[in-house]
């Protein structure tokens, strides 16, 4: 398959399809994922082609989705579950924390838990309450889970294939407001040689080299950072942009290496500010690159409030101006 231009949602669909073709144990389950193809159409057409024993329209119960996926994983399946929206994961939170994350540890490896929990996350789509949240920090706080976030079609495909192949449970965050943004997808780019499993993509990646400030984020804010780098360049400032991609565990080496060169860092996320991934990055970079820092790390994030009514979300979300303002502050130190 030659490289194509496609949307992030379609790249996920392609990734699911190829994983299901390669391994009959891969099953997809969630609310409306079958006949409808998912409310974002990420699973479009899969039930028609793979049948309703492999693409399960489940009853409307998130704990049920996660809890039965646990049993299916014990039975040898590799369930890819879909939580319809970020704010709906909490009925399933107990099963994720109490069972999914702990079963391998509890049984000292007798059971592995190869399941993927796909969650569309983040704001910016003018939605009602519970449809625009960024709950990723909750999951990063739990030993036994891996947490990743994709930001473009190529990563969406590669990372989903890697998550499905992973023997550990992976909470897979998808930036819902980027579902319809297009990019290049080359399924062969990072493909496994025949018979081998897909390569790991759970690493941070340098998106744009620069010299003045290291700016780090993941998921939906990545295009904001790229635009900020363009805008800063017109003012003669050079931003180095890093996409974390993996939130737990963090792949911090590229970040620390970058900060050692630039001496300044801004961390960006839509999630609330405190006890967050941005907090953690700031702490870790301070621990590991203290003498390289010319200024305190500045965090740009949501407020410590519930997600606001959507007419106010442009004030809540990190945007171009907020990122550039933070860059000004670290440069002025």
């Amino acid at each position: 398959m030659a490289p194509i231009t496609t949307t992030l949602a379609k790249a996920l669909n392609t990734g699911l399809r190829s994983a299901m073709e390669d391994d009959p144990k891969v099953i997809v389950m969630g609310e409306d994922v079958g006949r409808l193809g998912g409310v974002f159409r990420v699973t479009d057409g899969l039930q028609k082609d793979f049948g309703d024993n492999r693409v399960l329209d489940t009853p409307l119960a998130e704990s049920g989705i996660i809890g039965t996926a646990v049993g299916l994983a014990m039975r040898g399946y590799r369930p890819v579950t879909e939580i319809q929206f970020d704010g709906f994961v909490f009925p399933g939170f107990d099963q994720i924390i109490s069972q999914v994350a702990k079963i391998t540890y509890r049984t000292q490896g007798a059971w592995s838990m190869p399941m993927v929990i796909r969650i569309p996350f983040g704001g910016g789509i003018g939605a009602v309450e519970h449809h625009a949240e960024s709950p990723e920090s909750f999951f990063c706080h739990i030993g036994g889970l891996r947490v990743v976030a994709c930001s473009n079609p190529q990563d969406a495909y590669d990372m989903l294939r890697a998550a499905i192949a992973c023997e550990d449970p992976v909470v897979f965050f998808e930036p819902k407001r980027r579902y319809w943004e297009k990019g290049t997808l080359d399924p062969e780019l990072n493909a496994a040689s025949s018979g081998e499993r897909p390569p790991r993509c759970f690493s941070s990646v340098l998106r744009r080299p620069g010299t003045d400030v290291t700016v780090v984020s993941y998921g939906p804010s990545m295009p904001v950072l790229m635009a900020a780098a363009d805008a800063a360049a017109t003012e003669g400032r050079s931003l180095e942009i890093i996409d974390l991609r993996t939130l737990s565990p963090l792949d911090l080496d590229p970040v620390v290496e970058s900060v050692r060169r630039t001496g300044r860092m801004v961390v960006v996320s839509e999630a609330p500010l405190e006890s967050s991934i941005t907090s953690n990055i700031a702490a870790r970079v301070t621990e590991e690159a203290f003498y390289s820092l010319a200024a305190p790390v500045v965090r740009v994030a949501g407020f410590d409030t519930p997600y606001p009514p959507s007419r106010l979300e442009d004030e809540y979300l990190p945007d171009l101006d907020k990122v550039l303002d933070a860059v000004d502050r670290v440069m002025a130190w």
């Binding site: 099953i27 024993n53 399960l56 489940t58 009853p59 119960a61 704990s63 049920g64 996660i66 809890g67 039965t68 996926a69 646990v70 049993g71 299916l72 994983a73 014990m74 039975r75 040898g76 399946y77 009925p91 107990d94 099963q95 109490s98 069972q99 079963i103 391998t104 540890y105 509890r106 049984t107 000292q108 490896g109 007798a110 059971w111 592995s112 838990m113 190869p114 030993g143 036994g144 891996r146 992973c166 023997e167 550990d168 565990p249 963090l250």
Partner: protein, 416 residues
């Protein structure tokens, strides 16, 4: 207009016509007798439909719906199972009192409910316990000493859940019911149910799953969702509820207005209430239920009506919430005594047999105790072991840091 109070002193009677209408048939039918209130049974105890094959006095009867061939060997085996399980269970309590265990979860009184269900399973069937299922563990070939680590704090599951087909204990109430349902869905997707009746496959290949939970768990959303999913996907699962009347201090009336087995009708599958202190009835009914599942007629719910004769755990004090008269009442319904009475009266076992089983039980208890006392603290690496199946650099760094930290003390203590 609200009517006059009917009988304000009785909290289980509706006080107004409107309230009576709101409660409906279930509420009225479920009205307890005063003796039931005393026994703590309240609205959920009624039901002439309790399946019983061996009365508390040891009289054997048959039930056409749940036929079972009762032999002396079968009865002696079940008796032995129950005596041995009760004996190491009592030893668990003693070990906690002596500081060798942090806690023990007694099963006293539930031997029949667990041995009956456990012996109904075939090797290929899968069990998902809660945390009191020491008797089911016994039937699955888990050595009693393998249960100890959880309660001594040296491990969280001392057996191989895959090899024994007996999952780890699950402490969050109700979680395992959903996991079991998913496993049973997988059995259906794998096509290991519904072989032609009487065929070899029906005996050798067909499988079912059984989920164990208590009366308290029936209030959990996960149990509800498990039943919804099982019904939606025709999963071959037996929902085995041991109604031991108490969820720590809360009587079953706090969980339900209707008998628990009746809940199954709301999900569209059969429910049966069995005398949970009658090991033969538990065996016969669970055999039937598992076979229904293996043949493709699942799910099925069983309510084993039993009694927690001891505390919730060794940390609990039941004298704060239930009357001694209630415990005395249930002692007359003891699950082991009725089998012993039947064996003796029918001449199916002699004194030598009972003494031999008692001796075997004491040997098991001694082995259980010796093993417990000898269990060492795990090494520090255990903190980090098997959190993930695949390599995890963050934990590798933390382990290395922790070992280095510990090594610092070893150097300080060097020479001592």
């Amino acid at each position: 207009m609200a009517g006059p109070p009917v009988q304000p002193s009785d909290p289980y009677l509706p006080t107004t016509a409107g309230e009576a209408a709101a409660r409906g048939a279930a509420g009225l039918r479920g009205r307890p007798t005063p003796s039931e209130v005393i026994a703590g049974l309240r609205a959920t105890s009624h039901g002439e439909d309790l399946i019983q094959l061996l009365s508390p006095e040891g009289t054997l009867t048959g039930n056409d719906d749940f036929p079972i061939e009762v032999t002396a060997d079968l009865l002696r085996g079940l008796y032995r199972d129950m005596v041995l399980v009760r004996r190491f269970d009592r030893e668990g309590n003693a070990l906690q009192r002596q500081g060798q265990l942090s806690i023990w979860v007694p099963l006293l009184g539930q031997e029949a409910a667990q041995i009956g269900a456990g012996r109904a399973m075939r090797p290929a069937d899968m069990a998902f316990p809660s945390y009191r299922e020491h008797g089911v563990a016994w039937c699955r070939g888990v050595d009693p000493t393998q249960l100890l680590g959880i309660f001594r704090g040296t491990d969280q599951c001392g057996w191989d859940p895959k090899a024994t087909r007996f999952n780890s204990y699950t402490i969050v109430i109700g979680n395992q019911v959903l996991n079991a349902t998913g496993y049973a869905m997988g059995q259906r997707f794998d096509g290991v149910i519904g072989s032609a009746p009487g065929s070899e496959d029906a005996v050798t290949s067909d499988e079912a799953t059984i989920a164990f939970f208590g009366d308290g768990a029936t209030s959990q959303g996960d149990v509800h969702e498990g039943m919804v999913f099982a019904a939606a996907f025709d999963a071959p699962i037996v929902f085995y509820c041991q109604n031991n009347q108490w969820a720590i201090s809360e009587p079953v009336a706090k969980q339900s207005r209707v008998p628990l087995w009746e809940r199954s009708t709301g999900y569209g599958f059969p429910g049966v209430r069995v005398d949970g202190n009658d090991v033969l009835a538990c065996l016969a009914v669970t055999r039937w239920a598992l076979e229904e599942c293996r043949s493709g007629n699942g799910p099925v719910m069983i309510e084993a009506f039993t009694y927690r004769m001891d505390a919730h755990t060794t940390s609990d004090d039941p004298t704060r919430y239930r009357m001694a008269a209630e415990e005395e009442h249930w002692k007359l319904l003891d699950p082991i005594q009725r089998v012993k009475a039947h064996l003796s009266r029918q001449g199916l076992a002699d004194q030598e047999f009972f003494e031999q089983v008692a001796g075997e039980a004491d040997e098991l208890a001694a082995r259980f105790r010796a093993h417990c006392i000898g269990m060492p603290k795990p090494p520090p690496e255990r903190i980090f072991a098997n959190v993930y199946t695949e390599p995890h650099h963050q934990l590798e760094q933390q382990l290395a840091g922790h070992l280095e930290y510990l090594a610092g003390f070893a150097e300080q203590d060097g020479g001592r």
